[in-house]
């Protein structure tokens, strides 16, 4: 397919693999965190790890939108759908994420809640227009990529005078999460997460630009390369990161120049700014409470804020004991180091969010990586 297959070209991949092998210093290791689930997906789906030297390791970051949503917010959505007689509109990825006691939206739907899977905020608006006698809530999740459409939907609802449309806003921000990961002290009994550099977000950066990562790169002396989601993007960005690390640089470089500029999409930023504002703090699954890392709906638009319209009181929220999603999202553990991985927790019966979305590290490991892990284990035993 034109403009897609070019970025998946096997012969170019081999050339890049050779360049990476030449650049990587065998005397050290490279711990590279790919921030986004989209990167994780590409690495596993195309077998990128097979093409880089053994001392170049990808650490899977928290950039999977459904994975970082804390259980409490998901429980709130389930409660909204079950007990407030609303039509809850959600992105498909969110449907199977387990909340407290494994209660997911898909289970709530089976109990009679009216939950509709939508592909865009425009679908949610249409459902609101078509059901003027019902309250329609859009369950807004995601990073800066999905935020502008939410802002636009609220503006449209205001212009149209839609009285039955609200947004349950859970949008989160990328740069504070990156800063938090490199800055956070290790949990008790856990080694500090050593990250040598970041493959920076691609679609997120098309909205916010590459400039917002500059302070974190400078302060924490970690190089960032904005990387596209195609496998050749990931490999070229890997080479760029290794070169920066070797040279002791910590710049923000942009590999994804066909989409990302330093300033990003100003119009989208203005729309978000108009409708949404910073929360003082927000809880992330895996990262804990991160200051100024999420957005809420501004007072001027509070009539569209589901948190204002409904009194949501979900009971005490709890994650499954011994689920390692939090440590996996911080990059502190690999999915295979979780006791539940592969026996209790599988894509058919996910215990934690990382096993649900195909962007989640556990699901990606399960779907694409097991064979390689198994082969590696066999090799270790043989040695």
């Amino acid at each position: 397919m034109k403009y897609v297959s070019e970025f998946r070209d096997g012969s170019l991949a081999r050339k890049l693999a050779k360049a990476i092998a030449q650049a990587a210093d065998p005397a050290r290791s490279y711990q590279l965190m790919e921030f986004c689930g989209g990167h994780t997906h590409a690495i596993f789906r195309y077998g990128v790890q097979d093409l880089v030297p053994e001392n170049v390791n990808y650490v899977h970051g928290p950039g999977c939108p459904v994975c970082v949503l804390p259980v409490r917010r998901l429980d709130d959505a389930v409660e909204l759908a079950l007990n407030h007689d609303v039509i809850l509109c959600t992105y498909g990825d969110m449907m199977r994420v387990p909340g407290t006691k494994q209660k997911s939206l898909i289970k709530a739907k089976a109990e009679g809640a009216d939950i509709r899977m939508v592909y865009s905020t425009q679908d949610a608006l249409r459902i609101a227009r078509d059901n003027s006698h019902r309250e329609v809530v859009f369950f807004a999740i995601g990073f800066e990529t999905t935020t502008p459409p939410t802002a636009v939907a609220i503006l449209q609802a205001k212009t149209e005078g839609l009285k039955n449309f609200t947004v349950f806003c859970n949008h989160v921000l990328t740069p504070p999460a990156i800063a938090h990961i490199v800055n956070a002290p290790a949990e008790e009994g856990e080694d500090p997460v050593r990250i040598d550099g970041f493959l920076g977000p691609s679609h997120v950066s098309s909205v916010i630009g590459s400039a917002p990562y500059e302070p974190a790169a400078r302060i924490y002396r970690k190089p960032v390369v904005i990387a596209g989601f195609e496998p050749l993007d990931v490999m070229q960005s890997t080479l760029m990161l290794i070169r920066q690390i070797n040279e002791g640089r910590h710049d923000v470089e942009n590999q994804y120049t066909r989409v990302v500029t330093r300033d990003g999409n100003r119009k989208a930023q203005r729309l978000v700014e108009q409708v949404l504002e910073l929360r003082k703090a927000f809880e992330w699954r895996g990262l804990g409470t991160v200051p100024e890392s999420a957005l809420k709906i501004r007072k001027d638009y509070s009539e569209f804020d589901a948190e204002k319209r409904f009194t949501i009181s979900s009971k005490a929220s709890r994650e499954v004991k011994s689920c390692e999603c939090p440590a996996i999202l911080r990059g502190a553990k690999k999915p295979t180091e979780c006791k539940l991985f592969g026996n209790v927790c599988t894509p058919d019966n996910p215990m934690g969010a990382c096993m649900v979305s195909s962007e989640g590290a556990c699901a990606a490991y399960w779907t694409y990586g097991r064979k390689r892990e198994a082969a590696a284990a066999v090799k270790e035993v043989a040695v």
């Binding site: 397919m1 693999a17 596993f44 077998g47 498909g92 990825d93 199977r96 899977m117 995601g142 779907t367």
Partner: protein, 345 residues
Amino acid sequence: MSDTGCRSSLRTGTVDMTHGGGGRAMADLIEDLFHRHLKNPVLDQRHDAAVLEMPPGRLVISTDAHVVSPLFFPGGDIGSLAVHGTLNDVAMAGAQPVSLTAGFILEEGFPLADLENIVMSMARASLHAGVPVVSGDTKVVEKGKGDGVFITTTGVGVLAEGVAISPCAAKAGQVVLLSGPIGDHGVAILSKRENLEFETEIRSDSAALHGLVENMISAVPGISVLRDPTRGGLATALNEIAHASGVGFVLQEEQIPVGPDVRAACELLGLDPLYIANEGKLICICEATDASRLLKTMRAHPLGREAAQIGEVVEDDDHMVVMQTGFGGARVVDWLSGEQLPRIC
């Protein structure tokens, strides 16, 4: 009710509870809609059960329920699908189908004109396949308790002596053939789903495969496995065979045919063509030495023109399906978990 009266109500009326009540309304519906279009000598016996002359051979029976939404889609509808789906299940045993039965569950309020279109489509599919619908049943459920129409069909066929096709029969060293490009049916359905309508030329590949199977078996009677990769797609079908036969598979991504439109739609929606449903394709596992003869036979049939060899059967205690990617790495092709959900970014 006079014939003309019923005809006009077929164009304007809707299904109501009397159509399932066992009275005159039901009799009229059966006569003027089902019998009229599906007409054949066995159905005309007007028994509750069909009495058939069977050709010699072992009896093969398969049943399949059809609940597709939307009911009408590019390249077919629930009527043609209900015929093809069941005929293909019979054909995948290596059998030649002889007859079909059909059970209809209709929802109160369903337009009779739509029902007639569905039955006419079934009649065309059955005529084209050369397999008559010989018995049927209709029930009506209250509004809100169905999704317009559900159709369950049962197919009966006969299996010639010496044919031993089974999902348990794949052996290491054999090869995997695929009859054509994957994903057309699933993407055609998706393109008409509420919320997702997109412009595309993609049509469902829904078709009856027993003619192709007949040619294949005459060319190579020793075929080990036949399977139509319907729900869950190629990936799920191969995982099922891997477990049933106790083997693994190694696929070559670049050999798996996928049409450019399907590829583009999957790319946009974040879906993987390996997991998308097909209704007119088959997987065939055979000895490596038979592969070229079978491929030639398949390519000579209109439903197998783009047939390809896509991989091989290997020994693997984990029964995994692994794919060599065009990019140069390897990935596991696992079962589909739940429904394939679109990624959000």
